[in-house]
């Protein structure tokens, strides 16, 4: 017993996903629920024993041993015996414990087949995007229902139900564990990439809620994207583009909100707080993403984020290039939110009135009716153009649309500077 032994940050969360993955691979995806229960049992057993006996010298091996035994017990008692059962038992009894979980922000991801297999299962295209995100967080990420609910600002019962339905769907469709057929791989990868993008945005959007858990969700998305991009079975330009995009945005996390919860726009952020290691890794990932011919939205978004990351200040940013990237992105997506961002970039190149004109020209502006950033940006541009009356009116409109306390505080503070 090594009492002085400190546990690696997030060890249990990491290890939970790892153990569920390994047990599910061994038992087959129809025993997914059993694997989950066995792993939870093992973690609870640790909680009841380690306070008295101390932390074992090899916590990961200890946990896996217990989880494996619990899985065997459950198989024996659960009347799940079938012809295959003896073979499963033999395999489960002889398999080695999975390797130790690496720390969360390790740059070198584990090339772990089991976790990748579980991720592909959890993000199966037959599930809705929301269900895929919740299931990936629960199974691979080791998040609890309560934690996922807090990150999504949803009721626990909603998330619990979503998970139950998703798992039932996987079972009913008899979705197997492991690498899909080569012909099926591209669509399976798209399904994972979409889910990870959504997972990251869920964590990244500082709309409201528990920031700590949202950061964890964003970094889990990064961890899984790293795995996807680095693993030889799944590596592809769009996985690298996704990873680049996430890293370059995450690099700005430390400068985005202060201790009091005040939001800072990109232009006001203290760039010395940006995480240089994440930027370097992001730029590297962007390089790797350029190896294919196809340009995806993630490529363009990552390219824009890279322009910001490379600039020493808001003023020194390569705005003409950003406008070009937004032109392409708008052509690909037709998204009014992209059009708003493009208008900001245009205002940097051609002045605030050009930006305002670009905002007015957005197709489908009705979709932005409840989007507080539109009037907030208009307000900033009117202020720059010297029309404080119009600026104040736009800010008031934005305050009324604010979706979170930090957002409201931020907008109110802007307004107080004007009036």
């Amino acid at each position: 017993m090594a009492d002085a032994l400190a546990l690696v940050d997030h060890l249990f969360r990491r290890q939970a996903g790892q153990m569920i993955a390994t047990l599910t691979r061994m038992l087959g995806s129809r025993h997914l629920a059993l694997a989950e229960d066995a792993v939870q049992d093992a973690l609870l057993t640790a909680m009841q024993q380690w306070p008295f006996r101390g932390v074992p010298e090899h916590p990961e091996a200890w946990l896996f041993q217990v989880a494996r035994n619990r899985a065997l017990d459950r198989l024996r008692h659960g009347r799940m015996a079938s012809d295959k059962e003896p073979a499963i038992k033999r395999e489960i009894e002889t398999v080695a414990a999975p390797a130790a979980a690496p720390p969360l922000k390790d740059e070198v991801p584990p090339l772990d087949d089991d976790q990748l297999g579980l991720l592909l299962l959890a993000c199966h295209p037959s599930l809705t995007a929301d269900a895929r995100v919740a299931l990936a967080l629960k199974l691979v990420g080791g998040f609890s229902v309560g934690e996922i609910a807090r990150a999504f600002l949803a009721q626990e019962s909603t998330i619990a139900q979503r998970l139950v339905r998703a798992k039932r769907a996987l079972r009913d469709d008899d979705i197997g564990f492991g690498m899909p057929e080569p012909g099926e791989l591209p669509s399976r990868l798209d399904s994972v990439i979409d889910a990870l993008y959504l997972m990251f945005n869920e964590g990244y959007a500082a709309t409201s809620g528990d920031q700590l858990i949202r950061d964890d969700v964003a970094f889990e998305a990064i961890r899984l994207a790293r795995m996807l991009a680095h693993h030889p079975a799944t590596t592809c330009p769009r996985a690298w583009a996704l990873l680049a995009l996430m890293l370059l945005h995450a690099a700005r996390f430390p400068a985005r909100v202060d201790a009091g919860g005040t939001l800072f726009l990109l232009r006001e952020q203290d760039r010395s707080k940006w995480n240089r290691a994440l930027i370097a890794e992001g730029l590297h990932a962007l390089d790797r993403s350029a190896s294919g011919g196809a340009v995806t939205t993630h490529h363009l978004e990552a390219g824009i984020a890279a322009c910001h990351a490379a600039a020493s200040s808001w003023e020194a940013t390569n705005w003409p290039q950003i406008v070009e990237l937004y032109d392409e992105l708008l052509a690909l997506t037709g998204s009014p939110v992209v059009a708003v961002n493009r208008a900001v970039a245009i205002s940097r190149v051609d002045g605030p009135l050009s930006g305002l004109a670009a905002l007015d020209a957005i197709d489908n502006r009705a979709a932005l009716q409840h989007y507080p950033l539109l009037p907030a940006i208009q307000a900033e541009l009117w202020r720059e153009a010297g029309d404080l009356g119009r600026a104040a009116a736009c800010y008031r409109q934005a305050v009324g649309l604010a979706r979170s306390a930090p957002e409201q505080r931020w907008l109110t503070s802007r307004l107080s500077l004007l009036v």
């Binding site: 009492d3 249990f12 009841q48 380690w50 932390v55 998040f143």
Partner: protein, 114 residues
Amino acid sequence: MKTFIMLLHDAGFPEDISPEQIQAIIERYVAWRQKIQQNGRKVSGHKLTDGQGRVMRGASGQTRITDGPYAEAREVIGGLFILEANSYEDVVELSKDCPHLEFGSIEIREVDPT
């Protein structure tokens, strides 16, 4: 230094406890023990098996054995610590930040040295 026994009565842990929370709880117990050991005191911990124990009562020549000693399975003693301290007050002071207090109660008894 005197010897004290701390009996940790479990009142149950929250349901849907996350791996992250479980790790945090373990770390708090470990930190609490380290804090006590830093003062040069000896602490040993013993986990008891889950569930009820047995209580034996000899009455009028017949021995009666019951599950126990508690009526509620929820109240079982999950484990115990044996530690050195100067007095009850000393143990109480050391245990004010024991994470167990969030999940149950602690019974402290001094071992009679004589």
